[in-house]
Amino acid sequence: MSRIQAAFDRLKSRGRKALIPYIMAGDPEPGATLALMRALVAGGADIIELGVPFSDPMADGPTIQRAAERALAYGISLHTVLGMVGEFRRHDADTPVVLMGYANPIEAYGIGRFADDAAKAGVDGVLVVDYPPEECVEFADVLKQHRIDPIFLLAPTSTERRYSEVAQAGSGYIYYVSLKGVTGSGKLDLDEVARRIPAIRQKVGMPVGVGFGIRDGASAARIAAVADAVVIGSRIIEEIEQSPPGEAPQRVTALLGGIRRAMDEGAKS
């Protein structure tokens, strides 16, 4: 069983929902990433989404753009990111790691070589923002052959036909983008999410995570009440940006811990 499926099964048996934080690999500097990943686990992360920086992050808002620019200033490449995952994996055999990024760095690396090296490093899932299912049939197959889950996005604007297409191409979980717009913008429509998720879950037959626009315990708890996972990115990156040098790991653990508690208390009530 894959680490991602094991994580969701474990949570289900305890009546809990998954908390999936996102950070950018190499932000604010390359040495910080490993400590931040561990801090996320300490704060209650069930799966970690690790951003692979790209020079032209078209689907991201200013916060994640800045994180990518900081990482790229250190020359962070896909190769470096895979090294970071390998290092994390030496100390943590259970927490799934999902890489999230854009197509071009992966194509430049080579799809086959990437799948080999990602599997060796202990990567569990890959979400390529600008690969819709119909443009990456071969890539999704290669990942699956390496027991890596290709993870796809669905949006409020997605059609029912689209649900089936991503169900076919994807595995692991579905990432539902809860608003129109880019990462970090603030127009989360909780009612819309609550209305959409049951239909999506039924259609895709795998867990549904919700992200984009979730900033605190209250919104996370309300999402957790209807979805299988809560994804938080920009808010964590802001916390890292605002932390004095060396304090980011504790502050990220505290932030995530608060969100975790709100989600778990919401589940009880």
């Binding site: 790209f54 020079s55 600008d130 819709p132 949006a155 997605s158 129109k180």
Partner: protein, 403 residues
């Protein structure tokens, strides 16, 4: 508008030109692109839509643009005869407006009251602001903050026309970052907003749609040149940044395999220096801005900053149809340096009394290289895609002159 048959029907229904093109965007944009594709396909076969587009091109833009025989320059070069397709005489001074009118009419048809655009030097931004004023639409133009500084006159032009110009501070603060930001606006405001892309790049249907709105250039040439020169050209030459003026003049000639199609990329300070914008000549295939095409990228797949004296060619990608024309061998792609383009710029000013855009000067410079190697009865057709008034500051600065 006449509609010559094309020997090929690319792109396919998902926007592929061979292995290039396609739709590489986040899921949030997929439905918007589908809505656009369906609206465009309906408009394309609607006689009223086509009639209005043609009316606007005739009465607002001033089409057909003439072809001019640059006889004095041809004689001085001592070889083939050079003919210029005068897109510089269009309203707003370049070919860009052909496409902006088509897309603005489509926006109106789709009930979108707000248009947005990206711009590098400001030409596409000015053309978009112009048609937005013409049709009474709200207009927001994204422009890299570096370009805002370098192109103050065009920024002012857009403001005069009623547009809001938003400086983009991310990445390299140039055209590619303006495009990223316009996409972000579109995905956030897709309900009331139409994104007018200025070149034959972006996700499907943009490369096809922009080509279709620009192919009037080549369609006119097909009948105009035989009337003037008594024959079809031996070669058609156009500069290529994103590639819209080149696709516009090439498209009708693609089935005429005896006619050479030559795209001219910007070699900047020279290909060996790495400071250039020659994506087809020196790049590798990859994925950027919604399509697969040739890109200037580093070994890690990060997009690199480009250089050209001509801001309109300063783009790290190129339209996917050019990538296909290159790989299929139907078109040839060559390069011209900043210095060579400037020489052609000065020559056309002095010998023909025409001040060309620096972009178009790249095509002129290659024609000037090629002409002397050919017999005097040979015919070269160059797309003079824009006028050079906007480049006064750049050229003066290169010559050590300050206003």
């Amino acid at each position: 508008m006449q509609m010559p048959d094309s020997s090929y029907t690319l792109p396919d229904d998902r926007g592929h030109f061979g292995k290039f093109g396609g739709i590489f965007v986040a899921e949030t944009l997929i439905p918007a692109l589908e809505e656009l594709r369906l609206a465009y396909e309906a408009a394309k076969v609607d006689a009223a839509f086509r009639a209005e587009y043609e009316y606007e091109l005739e009465h607002y833009v001033g089409r057909p643009s003439p072809i001019y025989h640059a006889k004095r320059w041809s004689d001085l070069l001592g070889g083939a005869q050079i003919y210029l397709k005068r897109e510089d005489l269009n309203h707003t001074g370049a070919h860009k407006v052909n496409n902006c009118i088509g897309q603005a009419l489509l926006a109106r048809r789709m009930g979108k009251p707000r248009v947005i655009a990206e711009t590098g030097a400001g030409q596409h931004g000015v053309a978009t602001a112009t048609v937005a004023a013409r049709y009474g639409m709200e207009c927001v133009v994204y422009m890299g903050s570096e370009d805002v500084k370098r192109q103050a006159a065009n920024v002012y032009r857009m403001k005069l026309l009623g547009a809001t110009v938003v400086p983009v501070e991310s990445g390299s603060k140039t055209l590619k970052d303006a495009l990223n930001e316009a996409m972000r606006d579109w995905v956030t405001n897709v309900g009331n907003t139409f994104y007018i892309i200025g070149t034959v790049a972006g996700p499907h249907p943009y490369p096809m749609m922009v080509r279709d709105f620009q192919k009037i250039i080549g369609e006119e040439c097909l009948t105009q040149l035989p009337e003037l020169a008594g024959r079809q050209p031996d070669a058609v030459i156009a500069c290529v940044g994103g590639g819209s003026n080149a696709m516009g003049i090439f498209h009708s000639y693609v089935p005429h395999s005896e006619i050479r199609l030559i795209g001219v990329e910007a070699a900047g300070y020279g290909l060996a220096t790495g400071k250039h914008a020659a994506s087809l000549t020196a790049g590798r295939p990859g994925v950027l801005h919604g399509n697969r095409t040739y890109l200037l990228q580093d070994e890690n797949g990060q997009i690199i900053e480009t250089h050209s004296v001509s801001a309109g060619l300063d783009y790290p990608g190129v339209g996917p149809e050019h990538a296909w024309l290159k790989d299929s061998g139907r078109a040839e792609y060559v390069t011209i340096t900043d210095d060579e383009a400037l020489q052609a710029f000065h020559d056309l000013c002095r010998y023909e009394g025409i001040i060309p855009a620096l972009e178009s000067s790249h095509a002129l410079a290659y024609a000037a290289k090629l002409a002397p190697t050919l017999a005097t009865e040979k015919v070269l057709l160059v797309n003079l895609s824009g006028r050079g008034d906007k480049d006064m500051h750049t050229v003066a600065e290169k010559s050590g002159i300050q206003f």
